[in-house]
Assembly symmetry: C2
Homo-oligomer: 186 residues x 2
């Protein structure tokens, strides 16, 4: 028996994308967004409205970073979505985060967010709020790498946004290997 | 100390989007995709190349459904990404899935996938592979609803795709309430 909810913006999983930028005066800005994801190979698209400080910064610097929010800093990552950089220009410092220059683009990474997609602006459309970026580098702190040198998701500990109950979740247990689990039906 | 990986299509979390369509002869088709997500209010965008049976079906019917893949059927959901509906037209039946008509659009939902976004085609661009759909209804089996009548993510049990190690994960534990956890920094 199916229940019907009408048009809703619900999906599982939804990401918590932390968008990092530099202001014109060098102040770091960080905000969160859930409406976005990988849109093509080495490209990410995010819905972000025109009035954000982040949007102004991206259009000026042509660059931004996207870090997955992590469980260790769920309160800070939530805070960055509650207050605007237009109203609280020092919100990064207030939450105790530390900005550093990304290696490849003119945007900050944050010591507290151990993985970042370093992106160049491809396009922004204020009508649809669609920001598209080219991923030019992925950087990750050594401490979240496994013995194979790859990012270990349990060490990164990214959070997932539940758009129905507005809760953040961790990742659980591995339940299968992609491109392999389904071989039994071939 | 940051390690640098160059341009990679990595993000956490990445979804496992199960795209359901009807063929011209009424055969149900189901494939998975990880490059996509919510792109605006009540809109979803997915990167899907032109050669898929699913793309042909969508362009013909102007409709599709998107169901989050679930842990109980991880092998079947993986299988739907391994084989093409062009080569194995009865792949839905082979994996033991059961298609039913969605309430609001000309596309199937599946008994084994208890939540579905029922979508109308807005646009498809074969150059960027970008499919955009309008979410006209969300349907969910009663058995995944909590006592509050909302979708309970632990009952739905959606899976997350790890694009680095190609593993599927469940959701873990709740770690905070959005628009609330961050209030302590205000």
């Amino acid at each position: 028996m199916r229940e019907h909810f009408g048009p809703k913006t619900w999906l599982y999983p939804m990401p918590v994308l932390m968008i990092g930028t530099w202001g014109a005066d060098g102040t770091p800005c960080l905000m969160n967004a859930a409406w976005g994801g990988i849109s093509e190979e080495n490209k990410i698209s995010i819905c972000i409205s025109e009035n954000h400080k982040t949007t102004e910064n991206i259009l000026q610097k042509h660059a931004f970073t996207v870090s997955p929010a992590v469980a260790a800093h769920v309160s800070e990552c939530d805070y960055f979505g509650i207050v605007s950089g237009n109203d609280v220009p020092d919100k990064v410092a207030r939450a105790g985060f530390h900005a550093e220059s990304a290696k490849t683009v003119d945007a900050p990474v944050f010591r507290e967010l151990p993985m970042a997609l370093e992106c160049e602006l491809i396009s922004y459309d204020p009508v649809t709020c669609r920001l598209v970026g080219r991923i030019v580098n992925i950087s990750a702190e050594s401490c979240i790498l496994g013995s194979d040198g790859k990012i270990d998701p349990k060490k990164l500990d990214p959070i997932v946004y539940d758009s129905v109950t507005h809760r953040y979740y961790t990742l659980g247990t591995p339940v299968g290997q992609a491109f392999s689990a389904g071989e039994i039906y071939k």
